[in-house]
């Protein structure tokens, strides 16, 4: 109950999002047309998927700065595979993308686990390495829409009940995370490891292994998103999703996931991602120059973290209050 239920932080963030949407809608009613909202959700789906992966990593006191590079490398690999073997069925492509993404996550995880290199250093390093590998394998060439097979490009666009498959995948991932985080031993271990790594050892949880598992999950989702991204935008090149890792971290922070580990929720990550997605989509609609976007999302991060910090600041043990109650 305490950990799966919606805590006040999520409720407030949800309130902020509703307010934001309401404000936009009051001037531009077209923004809340169901089709447009569906569109916004679809656009935000990659961010949602990656934010969930990042969430479990951050909860275990790590950080994964290599997600965007992982996404781009996986995307390039599947795109090249597709041009070389246009008949490769999509399920195989998906399996390869997830497998390759997990492998890259595993490399991060092993470096953190087996060599205890600080996570930020590991993923800073692998971020540049993964990006560089894209250049090496592609020679810097772009893979364009006309080089990709139709089936490859169509998959994330396929609509079911009015929503594109990309959105459905994001929804599925959210549901899977609700179960993973709330109802599995591994999910709870993430929180234990991040909340008190020392104590985790005493309860038989292998801290490094759990962190490694978080990286593998984050990597697998980055790989999955890599294929979806490349198929959706129908292009692959070295720089796709450049800098996206920071947006992913920002979504987590706005969603109340504590960078110090141990605290966070699926709902928070989801709402954090949605918040950024809505801001991004709304700017052109409400006619604010896109040049404002960066400053707005920066301010949102600062406000969110300041808000989270003040609302969760430990209230002390309140010895006197206890006394008042007792008497």
């Amino acid at each position: 109950m305490t950990w799966s239920g919606w805590k006040s932080r999520e409720v407030i963030l949800a309130g902020a999002i509703i307010l934001l949407v309401g404000m936009i809608a009051s001037r531009f009613p077209a923004f809340i047309a169901p089709s447009n909202l569906a569109n916004v959700f679809n656009d935000t789906s990659p961010l949602i998927i990656l934010a969930l992966g990042q969430m479990v990593v951050i909860v275990t006191r790590c950080i994964d700065l290599s997600v965007a590079a992982n996404l781009a490398l996986t995307g390039m690999v599947v795109a090249m595979l597709n041009t070389a073997m246009p008949d490769l069925p999509v399920p195989v492509i998906l399996a390869i993308a997830i497998g390759l993404g997990s492998l890259m996550g595993l490399i991060n995880g092993l470096l953190v686990w087996k060599l205890s290199i600080p996570p930020i250093v590991v993923t800073l390093g692998t971020m540049t390495i993964y990006r560089g590998i894209i250049f090496l394998i592609s020679g810097g060439e772009w893979i364009n829409a006309h080089e990709m097979s139709d089936a490859f490009k169509a998959f994330p666009r396929e609509t079911i009940l009015g929503l594109p498959l990309l959105s459905w995948i994001a929804i599925l991932v959210v549901l899977a995370f609700v179960v993973l985080v709330g109802r599995t031993a591994l999910g709870r271990a993430f929180f234990a490891v991040g909340g008190n790594p020392h104590a985790a050892v005493y309860t038989g949880i292998n801290v490094g292994q759990t962190q490694c598992a978080a990286y593998v999950i984050s990597g697998a989702l980055a790989g999955l998103t890599g294929y979806l991204w490349v198929a959706r935008y129908a292009v692959a090149y070295v720089d796709i999703a450049g800098g996206f890792e920071l947006e992913v971290v920002a979504a987590c922070v706005i969603g109340g996931i504590s960078i110090a580990g141990g605290i966070g929720s699926v709902g928070g990550a989801l709402l954090g991602a949605l918040f950024l997605g809505i801001v991004k989509n709304a700017l052109p609609v409400i006619n604010i120059s896109p040049f404002w976007q960066l400053a707005i999302s920066g301010s949102a991060i600062i406000i969110a973290v300041a808000f989270n910090a003040t609302s969760s600041r430990s209230k002390g043990r309140v010895i006197l209050k206890k006394a008042e109650h007792a008497t």
């Binding site: 077209a30 447009n36 569109n39 656009d43 250049f135 592609s138 020679g139 810097g140 060439e141 772009w142 364009n144 829409a145 006309h146 666009r157 991204w229 959706r232 935008y233 129908a234 292009v235 090149y237 070295v238 720089d239 796709i240 999703a241 450049g242 991004k280 989509n281 052109p284 609609v285 006619n287 896109p290 040049f291």
Partner: protein, 306 residues
Amino acid sequence: EDKRIALVVKALGIGFFEAAAKGAEEAAKELGDVEIIYTGPTDTTAEGQIEVINALIAQKVDAIAISANDQDALVPALKKAMDRGITVISWDSGVAPEGRQLHLNPSSNELIGNMIIKLAADHLPDGGDVAVLSASATATNQNIWIEEMNKVKDNYPGINVVATVYGDDLADKSYREAQGLMQTYPDLKAIIAPTSVGIVAAAQAVSDAEKAGQINVTGLGLPSEMAGHIDSGASKSFAIWNPIDLGYSATMLAYNLATDKAEAKPGGEIPMGRMGSLTLNDKNEGAMADPFTYDSSNINDFKDIF
């Protein structure tokens, strides 16, 4: 000894520049005593190009032909190159006059500005809303073309330019900007993208929104990348100059200046092999050729070339 000519591009891996590099190699083969160094940063930043230029200066290349990411920021580095006796020209995207000996425009800016709006207007006999999807905010050529376009847009009554957005030459950002345009302007009839990255992304966005045929994506693009969208009807026509010719011409110009076979001065004419010669205006700029329009009638002849 071979003349070493460096062809510096905005970023490696962009199809347009890869094609230009082919043209440079063609020129080198024709000239015989030329070695081409094809280089550039990985992303489109001025700092990245400066590091590349410093490395080229150190290698004492004979000439640098650059398509700049920033017309001002590269000036000091290129000046230094010229001080050390290196021939510097810019092509495609220009450098301010102090930083180069001449600039090769792919085509005249007026012509391009007119061309991109004409491409849209030709398919809108009754007029309608059009929007511009530009490229990187720091690249100059797009902005000049849009400026030129705005100067002549009154010649196309009924055509209403409703917005200009920036896709930063990133496929995903351009895609989202195109989506945003379609949402904001439900009556949109055409998107003009004078950038090879933007035009593909916009065409993709239009196809995905199942509006191919309703919204015409046009502008400047590469036949190889646009072939599919011409087939699908998302784009009825677009224009481009031949990037192979552009790389070829830039190399020829650099060679002729570096070997003192010609001098860059206002009013001067500098030969560029099979492309004729370049006539310089008072800012030492010249235009290579007219852009060429591609549509369903001719796309198949070019899509395998560039």
